[in-house]
């Protein structure tokens, strides 16, 4: 079998962003040139790397191979280094150490809509974006109709994309990218666009690509998509290659890794990105009905999810909320602390301080299984201060839940206690049986 991608000891070091500006002014360069004229050209070539500036290894010691025609999943938490890896593989950036070898044209879908220009029409953007992604003009022309049809925008093809709805925009962008035909396709989280039906269509398109014998590196937070599209996956954790295994095993490893947080996840202020300011998460917890912080909760009792946080400055329009999803990545619900109109009016702005927002999941709601809680703090349409899709996991035990007399697994994420009535119509003893409890 031919190896399509081989990387050895790949590493990438970044300087921390805030240092850049202060060290990189021309004034600084001139000042140094005056004191050390000889080093000027050397530094010019190196781009003024200051040894004292903070650096971080986004990726280190990564070695793996991908065979031609293989679809490899890449999983890892946000900031684990997945995107850096894909950027290196698609040659957007170069590694700091190590080496790699890639056989074939690499097409990357690092972000849909890259290079779209708002002033240009849909038609013009298809050509422009196609060329940016590495397609030849003839190739784009050949696939033009297919792209338009896939994106479902034929009526608006000659309208500037700035007039498109965000859904149309994303559909068009994905459609162009999905029709690339490189030997190696690098896909980063592009399935999170559009409505459910379009996502299904995208997923279908991706599996077509995989079946055409092309090599695909596929990154996603959607575990069900990873499971469906890949047979093998690598797990990246803190910039290191943690595991390479058949996908099911890799997904299990990933979900159990670092996620078993004993019903609580806390944040050290140093872990919180600067962009979250003034929001500073302290902890997220799952509590049972008696107030205990725990990893295992009961389906028949209320489950309290609480978010503890500090506001370092007053905030207007803040909403703190949770996402609940299955460990396979399928969303169950999203809920914010100011969903209720009265809460919304009462908390239009919050002064700086220390807060706890609690949300209670009613009893008889979740089925047995393991669930993932994500955290989001944002002001609608203004800014997303903080987001972590996988902050916490907990298990639900179904003891006492409806139907437990039959030892069988029940499908579905909810296990409600329905009010059942049985009318014996035309039975020999016409007694009406009322529901119990």
């Amino acid at each position: 079998m031919t190896i399509a991608v081989r990387v050895e000891n790949l590493g990438k070091k970044y300087r921390l962003g805030t240092q850049l500006r202060t060290y990189n002014t021309l004034r600084d360069a001139i000042a140094r040139t005056v004191s050390n004229p000889g080093g000027w050209f050397r530094r010019l070539g190196k781009g003024l790397r200051d040894p004292s500036a903070n650096t971080i290894w986004a990726l280190r010691n990564i070695s793996f191979e991908v065979e031609q025609g293989q679809v490899l999943g890449v999983i890892g938490k946000n900031g684990a280094g997945k995107s850096t890896l894909l950027k290196i593989l698609s040659r957007v950036t170069e590694p700091t150490e190590g080496s790699g070898e890639i056989r074939g044209r690499v097409g990357s879908l690092l972000e849909v809509g890259t290079g779209f220009h708002p002033e240009l029409t849909g038609r013009e953007n298809i050509y422009l974006n196609g060329a940016i992604l590495g397609m030849k003009r003839a190739e784009i022309a050949r696939k033009f109709d297919e792209i338009v049809e896939f994106a479902e925008i034929s009526r608006f093809i000659d309208t500037p994309v700035k007039r498109y709805s965000s859904g149309m925009y994303l559909r068009l962008a994905f459609a162009v990218a999905a029709h690339l035909e490189p030997e190696i396709l690098v896909v980063d989280e592009v399935l999170a666009v559009g409505d459910a039906e379009f996502q299904r269509k995208c997923l279908g398109k991706m599996s077509d690509v995989a079946q055409q014998g092309r090599t695909v590196l596929f990154v996603s937070h959607n575990m069900s998509a990873i499971l469906r599209l890949t047979q093998e996956a690598i797990v990246i954790d803190k910039g290191q290659l943690a595991l390479r295994a058949p996908t099911a095993k890799a997904v299990d490893y990933y979900l159990s890794q670092g996620l078993s947080q004993q019903g609580e996840r806390t944040w050290d202020p140093s872990e919180v990105p600067a962009s979250a300011w003034p929001f500073c998460p302290v902890a997220i917890r799952a509590r049972s009905s008696n107030g205990k912080v725990t990893d295992i909760l009961r389906s028949v009792e209320p489950i309290t999810l609480e978010v503890e946080y500090r506001l370092l400055a007053p905030l207007t329009g803040l909403r703190v909320g949770i996402y609940l999803s299955t460990t396979r990545g399928e969303p169950i619900f999203t809920s914010f602390d100011t969903d209720d109109p009265s809460m919304y009016e009462r908390y239009t702005s919050r002064p700086a301080g220390h807060y706890i927002s609690r949300g209670v999941i009613p009893p008889d709601y979740l089925n047995e299984g393991r669930y993932v809680v994500g955290l989001n703090a944002s002001s609608f349409n203004i800014k997303r201060y903080f987001q972590d899709e996988q902050s916490l996991t907990f298990s639900v035990d179904a003891a006492g839940a409806p139907g437990m007399q039959w030892p069988e697994a029940r499908l579905g994420v909810v296990r409600p206690h329905l009010a059942w009535y049985i009318d014996a119509v035309g039975a020999s003893q016409p007694d009406r049986l009322a529901p119990v409890g």
Binding site: N24, T25, L26, V92, E94, E97, E101, I102, G115, L133
Partner: protein, 278 residues
Amino acid sequence: MTAETEVPVVYLRPPKGWSALNLRDLWFYRELIYFMTWRDIKVRYKQAVLGISWAILQPLLTMVIFSIIFGNLAKLPSEGLAYPLFSFAGLLPWDLFAMALQRSSTSLVSNANLLTKVYFPRLVIPFSSILAALVDFALAFLVMLGLMVYYKVWLTWNILWLVPLALLAMVTAMSVGIWLSALNVQYRDVQQMVPFLINAWMYASPVAYSAGLIPQGKWQIIYGLNPMAGVIQGFRWALLGGNPPDKLLIISIVVVIVLLVSGLFYFRRMERTFADTV
């Protein structure tokens, strides 16, 4: 298995030292250059009521202002030609150069979103912004022809010299533009400096005045090092007649080539880290 041999192999390794220019890669991406140029042209005058006519209005209005101030008030000598004609023949290559330089030097930063997302030879970006300036040039050239008809100046075969001269103006813009665009990725000071540089350069070129005003001797030689001085003189000569450009033009061509080659190497070296620093 024939396809096997055609598959290009790419090696990923840390940026180290100076590397080969790899202009073949640029050739491979020639369609992208075309599309980026086309985008620049298309987008530039979008949502402007006057649209592409700005490409004609800008040099035309500059010419009018020059004619009033330098022609009528300051009464600068114009080599025996009507001053509007004289200044427009200078503005024609100058605007081409100035626009190409200005757009190319900020081009990388204004396309930062592309740099951080997709791979292609980074030279595509400054290249296409320089090419886009040709459209404005072509339109302004039509105005020039109109002016010549109005002033009853007839074309000669010398007009063919305009091709290498315009090319020299563009290559000059490119040689400076690629240096500045690569520097601008790191030092945003560059984009503050560019308008001033262009302004100063214009006064150092015979756009509004005649090169004959420069005293003979060492000043003339220094002046001759400015490629745009030769280009502008050449334009006037090819279109309107008069003195052909100085032999010093040869020296300035050498200067441009040195600047261009060093710029290409510098660019090539820095492009490997553009995505991280932009």
